[in-house]
Symmetry: C2
């Protein structure tokens, strides 16, 4: 899925509704902290199911109870797209549930 590249304004608006997310090296980035490895991995699995449904996947790094996430749309010239925002929102929703 390619999505569409967000304008600077659209990106800023989206970031306002995504606490803890920032732009880092051209990617949408957040560090997620959990209270255990099992909780972190469980969150990754639930997010993973949604990533499969969306056909849009994260880049993520896990060490014990921390997951560092980078979202970018490779099919779209490595820009941040609406799909990255959608996936970030889904991650937030699952994290707070």
């Amino acid at each position: 899925m390619a999505g569409y590249k967000l304008s600077e304004t659209e990106l800023q608006q989206a970031l306002n509704s995504l606490p803890g997310w920032q732009i880092k090296e051209g990617k949408l980035y957040k560090e997620y902290k959990f209270n255990s490895f099992a909780t972190a991995l469980g969150w990754m699995v639930t997010v993973g199911v949604h990533a499969e449904i969306m056909e849009h996947h994260p880049e993520w790094f896990n060490v014990y109870s921390t997951v560092w996430v980078n979202l970018v749309t490779h099919d779209n010239g490595n820009a941040i797209s609406n799909l990255d925002i959608e996936l970030a929102k889904k991650m937030e929703e699952i994290y707070s549930s």
Copy 2:
């Protein structure tokens, strides 16, 4: 779990039985390729269950169908221990099953 630090000889012997694994920046490293994101994540979950049982966890980075793994024992002065070898062997076993 702290495990025990491996001697140079023990480490070399262990590496001989771990195809594709190498020492990289003081950690036991391997790049795993899968045929899909779902297969990669499924492998991570199965490995994760064993990591919990062992009380010893990997550092891993996933992008779509690739997982880069680093194993090191933080409780043991950031050295490679018998626990890292044990976890690597478990990863191989699950990967080839």
